[in-house]
Symmetry: D2
Subunit: 362 residues, 4 copies
């Protein structure tokens, strides 16, 4: 259960980290949109480990194949789009300790507690590798949204407390600015410090966390459902469903709780184009759960990677004290690779909101 | 759309703020649980305005009636439980300006943008009055969970930056401690400062925000679905669906992003009772989206109330500049009344997680 | 569970037969459609017992109240529409035997087996009274569909084997023709025989069954989802969810299984208006689960009423042999009252199919 | 949309008939159940064309691969189970006429009307090949249900009006009896006549329809949801979602409408084992939408195959009159191959009902 996302644009992922394949099925995609495997591959490559010295050197070529839902001439059919990535070099054998000793702050223990069984190699479904399917689906969502002028962009805003000086809406920030550094932070000065901090963590056999910012520009007013399926509630769920995420803020977030109402309220004005807009955007583009035509702005907190290259005290399956010895390789900071995942989840949320809005209001 | 919450324990609310009635239908509640209207009334009374000088003096007696789903001798039947509160004194007439001038940081504009129509009196569905149904449903969820030893408790942790000195799990905090002050903060010293700050905001015709903490104790290991419906993702959605919420943290949250992995990881040990537990709880009781047997801990950010007693610049429906004059009464701080709503949303999330877990795993 | 119908136009009913109230909540209704309580009342009156000597003389005034979702000037708001009917004269007391002795072919035993508890008075949720909410919701669905030219009509096609001579699409049949006789059969000759047969069953203390036909005219080509949510699959589920229904046919149905493919296939031609249509309609207006622009045609089988005025052998709750003595009043034939219920379920199915189609295809 | 089935045991199929692959993802399967690809293959082989002279000689080896959700030692993990069958010999080219001329009583026209695009080769999603995923999922459902003693069996009951003499519950009928003839009818005399009739249809370039019966034995009392998700309503939807199905009956079905209530009612008695049962089973094992402990019995009507080896009048995409010339090969009767599909859909429905029951009632 719980492997699907979205009510109208519905995404279901499958696959264990080291199983035969990982993939995704997208149901509800509008017909006649152009979709090529190469487009999907481009985003998967951004998610992949081994892109720079900042990320795990594991080799996951992640070659995507479209199995259904696209016509011979590259248009969506309106039928389910299935995509798959074969696992390469999936050696179950070398996971020694992990089989019996619970890795701290990983999901080994909770999967065992829930199911009484778990895919040990590579963390199974709890691995960040599960997000391959999400990123692939995000490309389809972008194909739905791009013709409407919706553009979703995310970047690394903080690493271990080192913060970028970029505004919430990412004004003037381009995708190239973000891709310019391996840490995916468009503020070059902060980026350099972040990279240094991550390298230090690697040398220490330790890890660091941080914050990803995301801005969704061009979202028209009126999307999102009020009450339980508020657009920001759906975004919160989307982001917290990403491995290692511990917090979410929309608009002014936690800092906004320290303002007064007179400071916080966003004043309405008529823009030069005649459209109603607000002079500030502490609402983060959403009021009452519905988009107001301003950019959606949010921040997503990632904890430091749980895998570290140090011996750690833990227990084994029987509850006996044990020591987990470090082995293999690790990602001292997931933030750079999290950027395309955050974008994908925002895209999936918006595509679903768009189709649901269209269902009720036309 | 979007007025239902939960897949197995499904809650649907209805009603406009000043319409004939507000209510809720709960589908999927297990049979043979005791449920009395008086139990529901008790929680509704905690949510109600006019409880103290801190909250709006509006009179909403909110008398609840159970319409279905409960036997003559007070047991749930397994059929839908419908509950309703009649509106009293619903005068649509005195909403003058609001009809044509958009209140800043309210949902007037976005409802109009979405639906092309809106219930003007009292804010319609966007009013906090909609949460009457949620709080009533929360009482039913508590009836499901209490026999399992699950106890959900929330309190005001911050008002305008004034923070309580209470730990995340609320160790030693009782419901009585929380109810001891009108601000629902169990730290008496902080509570006094908070009250003073709220009173000042009232005098200024202004408003303040803050943070509610919530701890769910007694949740067994194994609840929650991995991947998209992670228990913390569902909680995030639940909390962000509450009016005025702008942020959510589980466990270490945003602060945790500044720790290293070696500092952040929760070590497993065997407890005196033989159960596996962790020595710290930065995970907030959830790993990989599944409960680990520790208390679930979270923080929920509320922006300052959008309604203030000051003239504000805005536009009218046609986009013309206008001034919104203050009128009526306002709640200078929603935090005290938000406490039972946060509890209700946590209870609804857990009841659903419990039933879904039972479906798959038995 | 299981008290909701529809994914985009979602209907949830609540209420036990003799409980305080029965009702319905409709979520997802498009905004700005005219809806008046009087429109709803008209259809409820068609469903009500006591309309003629053919139906139970029980008095259920079924006065409907709209609780939410409609503006002061009678337009839908896009928010949940809740409607309620108070029970009148709900005497729980006079259900003696039924409390302990299982009525044959009723749901007393299965509710007990499932829930370990049941609302004894009036059959609880298993009562046909539950359909009050469906019929009320059907009026809302009609408000969605009528502007598109969709018209749903049902009539009694068979009673105890006495068949009407009316074609499947109900060509030339008006609602007035149907309402002209208390048995709601537009073929006057058959109607007279049916009435006689029903009166005889009443005198015998027995009951009879029959078949309702339904035609949905004006449905554009393209509605319905292929694969699991085929339009005819959704209609089948809708109809089988009505109490006492034992069978469903679309188009040629069971009789079509005796034709050859060359006899059965519907030939395409271009109509005078340029639209593609078929010369015959054995497909019942649906091919591959999607409407083809022809009228949807279906038949729904109702078993004879389980309540009869005769002593019947049965067992009590403990499994001991017992005799159930007849008491009270009964409906010797549910067919006439089933007509508005069948129409309502078809309308709900089509409104949902329309909104879902709009979500994906625009 | 519409490519998923089930709420707790959720099955999503994907794939076009002649696309790269067909497959299925099953979410919600309980953990620790044995599942081997060979088990799945066995049922797929029963569904496959080319098993006998009665079915199409097309070669679809349908070799299944399990992509996820099963541990190295063959146990379900509780995570999504994805399975895939690669298309072999998928030549898009030889579909000449079909590209532009609508095949009568096929879904070519309606897919075009809905999506404005369609996978032409092999009928795309509307092909019976889509059911590969259903049959594979049915094997997983059987793994869930078999330990409970639930056994689902289907057989051909009628071909072109030639009826088998087998009772509704299939008493004494084994799977071997059914597999004994290529027509999958356990009554040898009727089977011979059916085979002769099908062979004649083939020689005529024509096709015939028929009826499949299905009995679900060992279903405990209490499964199924009342009101909209009645167990028989879900079964009806399941069966009508199979290509070519035009009708569904449970228990006494259409014939039961000609009985009186006193003839039709099922008397309760205590069985020798102390359990309450009924002396007859006109209810088809379901009362008020909930199983009563008797065998579930149903009949499913299949129209004659739409593909025939005769020239047929039709129109092309532009609405111009055209003749569709026969080409390729056809299945003169789908009934034998429909048997495993009907079983699969019944199994999927029951597995979902079981898990949903467990969610609410434990």
């Amino acid at each position: 259960m719980g492997n699907s996302f979205g009510r109208a644009f519905t995404v279901t992922t499958f696959g264990e980290s080291h199983g035969p394949a990982l993939g995704v099925v997208i149901d509800g995609c509008p017909p006649r949109l152009p979709l090529a495997a190469a487009d999907v591959q481009r985003d998967l490559d951004r998610r992949r480990p081994g892109q720079s010295s900042l990320t795990s050197p594991r080799r996951e070529p992640d070659h995507v194949e479209i199995l259904s839902g696209v016509s011979d001439d590259g248009l969506t059919l309106g039928t389910p789009i299935a995509m798959m990535v074969r696992s390469v070099d999936a050696r179950s054998k070398d996971y020694g300790d992990v089989e019996t000793r619970y890795r701290p702050s990983h999901a080994d223990f909770t999967y065992d507690a829930k199911y009484g069984i778990r895919a040990i190699a590579g963390g199974g479904r709890a691995s960040a590798r599960e997000t391959v399917g999400r990123v692939a689906a995000g490309v389809v969502a972008r194909a739905v949204l791009a013709p409407l002028g919706v553009d979703v962009i995310a970047w690394v805003d903080e690493v271990a407390g080192i913060a970028a000086a970029v505004d919430a809406e990412g004004d003037g920030v381009t995708r190239d600015d973000i891709e310019a550094t391996p840490v995916r932070c468009p503020d070059g000065v902060a980026a350099a410090l972040m990279i240094e901090r991550i390298e230090r963590a690697r040398k220490d056999g330790d890890s660091v966390g941080g914050v990803v910012r995301c801005a969704c520009r061009g979202v028209p007013a009126g999307w999102g459902q009020p009450v339980f399926d508020k657009l920001d509630a759906e975004l919160a769920r989307a982001m917290l469903s990403i491995p290692a995420v511990k917090g979410f803020e929309v608009g002014s977030g936690f800092a906004g709780t320290r303002l007064t109402g007179s400071e916080h309220n966003d004043r309405f004005v008529r823009g030069d184009d005649g459209a109603i807009r607000t002079t500030t955007n502490r609402s983060g583009g959403i009021q009452g759960g519905i988009s107001n035509g301003m950019a959606l702005t949010m921040r997503v907190a990632f904890k430091p990677t749980a895998t570290i290259m140090r011996a750690q005290d833990t227990v084994d399956r029987d509850g006996n004290a044990a020591v987990l010895e470090p082995r293999g390789r690790h990602d001292p900071c997931v933030l750079p690779r999290a950027v395309p995942i955050v974008e994908a989840m925002a895209l999936l949320t918006l595509a679903d909101a768009y189709l649901r809005h269209r269902a009720q209001v036309g």
